[in-house]
């Protein structure tokens, strides 16, 4: 990264005796869209508040646009926030809400009006909304007004604190698409906090996965999905399968043995091995969409497991099967292409197979 707009290093945050952030380091490039993802209490919102200037870090350094942010109040930072509950001023009209940052910067009335109108256009809001109050708008319209208020003063960084978590699924999808388009058009850096890794994968250039105040992995959506650092990251995107194995170094890759599989011995190439592999809880990550029902002979090198169908769910484009395999704690999940003909019934004995060389070797 040539010149990061945000350079956080070793950020520590304590609340009393509880440590919310344990030395978090993260660089965000100019114009980049970064998502902070993790379960509740992982510290992602605390980190965002530190970037915004609502919280002062206990330790570490934070630079935004090359300036040290220690002691710089939120008002003087080049960041603007879209709040989870939007925080539109209920006693101000849409025009007054959007124009509030301009009023504080003492921007002239005609210029301010022009910029408010430009924002309205950008957000596809009708001009007659200007005199309305936030309570008179729908959830999606309020969302756009909140975005317009945050963007009207042309901030260097836009911070988004789960702004779409309260919307229904359909509205969420359309606003996600608009957010992505907006980011491309404006070239402003976006930092999105979300607990929804799927949303993060759709929108962000890079994803920072956090857990209990630590950064677990930073990478592109493809990295996070196909090369997760550990089982926590791999499991966060949704349901997936972990097959316990023992692994040992073998030439270029790793020799992997699974006691559960009849001929459970193979070599995994180094690009299918997590760089942060440790000895504890080694497992193969087998994505549900890479497993098939084996009817007849197994393919050469394919690992085959015996089990019986516990349940299936028709999801439309795909059908999900849960197969109970002897010796595994969790049911194995298969995502098969949707079909009107179901390949197996509940309780039926089945064989499932996958190519272990295409699986990903990781640890806890």
């Amino acid at each position: 990264m040539a010149s990061p707009i945000i350079d956080a290093s070793g950020i520590v945050k304590d609340y009393g005796t509880a440590r919310a952030l344990h030395g978090v380091s993260l660089q965000i490039g100019t114009g980049e869209f970064v998502a902070l993802v993790g379960p509740s209490g992982c510290g992602k919102t605390t980190l965002l508040k530190i970037l915004a200037g609502f919280e002062e870090p206990t330790g570490g350094h934070l630079q935004i646009q090359g300036r040290d942010m220690r002691g710089v109040p939120a008002a003087s930072r080049p960041t603007r926030m879209v709040f989870q509950k939007l925080a539109l001023f209920p006693h101000k009209t849409v025009a007054e809400n959007i124009g509030f940052p301009l009023k504080l910067q003492k921007v002239g009335k005609t210029e301010a009006n022009g910029r408010i109108r430009a924002m309205l256009d950008l957000m596809h809001l009708k001009p007659d909304y200007l005199e309305r109050y936030p309570a008179q708008l729908s959830g999606g319209e309020q969302q756009r007004v909140a975005l317009a208020r945050a963007l009207v003063s042309q901030p260097g960084v836009l911070l988004l604190d789960e702004p779409m978590s309260a919307l229904d699924a359909k509205l969420k999808k359309s606003l996600q698409a608009e957010l992505k388009k907006l980011h491309r058009e404006l070239g402003t850096s976006f930092v999105l906090v979300t607990h929804d890794l799927e949303e993060a994968m759709m929108l962000a250039d890079r994803i920072c996965v956090m857990r209990s105040g630590h950064v677990v992995q930073v990478g592109t959506p493809a990295d996070i999905y196909y090369r997760p650092a550990n089982m926590f990251v791999a499991g966060f995107i949704g349901e997936t399968n972990f097959l316990p194995v023992t692994a040992s170094a073998a030439g270029d890759g790793m020799a992997v043995v699974s006691p559960l599989v009849a001929v459970g011995k193979t070599t995994i190439a180094s690009e299918h091995v997590s760089p942060s592999l440790s000895a504890k809880g080694t497992a193969l990550l087998v994505r549900p969409e890479t497993i098939r029902f084996v009817k007849g002979d197994a393919a050469p090198g394919e690992w085959v497991l015996d089990g019986h169908v516990e349940e299936y769910f028709i999801k439309g484009a795909s059908t999900q099967y849960r197969v109970r395999v002897h010796g595994l704690d969790n049911a194995v999940i298969l995502d098969l292409p949707g079909s009107i003909v179901l390949p197996a019934a509940v309780g039926e004995a089945v064989r499932i197979g996958f190519d272990p060389t295409q699986a990903f070797l990781l640890s806890e």
Binding site: A75, T79, R80, K85, A87, F89, F100, L104, Q136
Partner: protein, 291 residues
């Protein structure tokens, strides 16, 4: 909030509304009408004479003495509103935003003080305001000349008592308004570039208006009828409307006059409240976001 249009033909609606309506009519509207009717009667040898006469109203409008007292009452009520709000707002603000540790204890103390009988509290102030009272004793020991304050049996004494007895009302209403303000709104104002003071005037103060107004109305209405404080702490040197009305009914046994003065006080109060309401409602609604 939505106001639903209900029909008087709806029996459930009538049944649910009727009891309250009856109580209001029987114990509020009827006595008010009776008071109004009473003003057109006269008295002779301390007895009510049943007529229709404008004599009392001529007297009321021809004696400036009554109007001086009415105006003094309104002025005292307005000063009391300003003082109570000025004291209550910072206290409520501190209670709502700053004091975290002793919040409950302070609230309980305020409620105890509020619930203690007003007569007791008002007489208690005599001990403080008397020439040889606690206030002068304290000031003397702090190095001020002896008997520096002479507040008992003055309008200032009355005002101290009124403010003390009424300050809890706006404190509670303002507190309730303040705690309802989403803290994110203040963060949003800071984020947009506002200073703390600017945020207070742009966000906190406008959003605490409902509590501010309702507290002010409560204090205004209650201090228009202040009776105890002018009597006990004012010593009758500058009587307020309620004392004048009591004298008309009890000392002079002139019920029509008392009724007329009551109507004047009610009318002045109602007109001022209407003017304030018009002023407040001139601004468009501070619409709330749906939850």
């Amino acid at each position: 909030m939505r106001i639903e249009r209900k029909s008087w033909n709806d029996p459930v609606f009538v049944a649910t509304v009727a009891p309250l309506a009856l109580v209001m009519v029987a114990f509020f509207l009827v006595p008010l009408l009776m008071t109004a009717v009473l003003t057109f009667q006269t008295t002779q040898y301390y007895r009510l004479v049943w007529t229709w006469d404008l004599k009392i109203w001529t007297e009321v409008f021809s004696k400036p003495h009554y109007w001086t007292i009415m105006m003094r009452t309104v002025a005292m009520a307005l000063i009391c509103v300003v003082l109570t709000v000025l004291i209550a707002f910072p206290a409520a603000y501190a209670l709502a935003t700053r004091l975290k540790t002793f919040k409950t204890q302070i609230q309980i103390l305020i409620i105890f003080a509020f619930l203690t009988d007003a007569v007791l509290k008002t007489f208690g102030w005599i001990l403080i305001l008397d020439k040889n009272g606690v206030a002068n004793w304290l000031l003397m020991h702090l190095g001020f000349p002896p008997e520096m304050l002479n507040l008992l049996f003055t309008p200032t004494g009355t005002m101290i008592g009124m403010v003390y007895n009424l300050v809890a009302y706006p404190m509670f209403t303002i507190y309730l308004s303040l705690v309802r303000i989403d803290r994110d709104l203040m963060l949003a104002a800071y984020d947009a570039g506002a200073s703390r003071i600017r945020t207070f005037f742009e966000v906190t103060l406008p959003l605490s208006r409902p509590g501010l107004y309702s507290g002010a109305v409560l204090v205004f209405v209650l201090s228009l009828g202040a009776f105890l404080e002018p009597k006990v702490l004012g010593g009758g040197t500058s009587p307020l409307a309620s004392e004048l009305i009591r004298q008309s009914f009890e000392t002079r046994v002139n019920w029509p006059l008392g009724a007329a003065l009551t109507m004047v006080l009610i009318t002045i109060g109602a007109l001022m409240l209407a003017a304030c309401a018009a002023f407040v409602l001139r601004r468009p609604s501070t619409g709330r976001r749906p939850a």
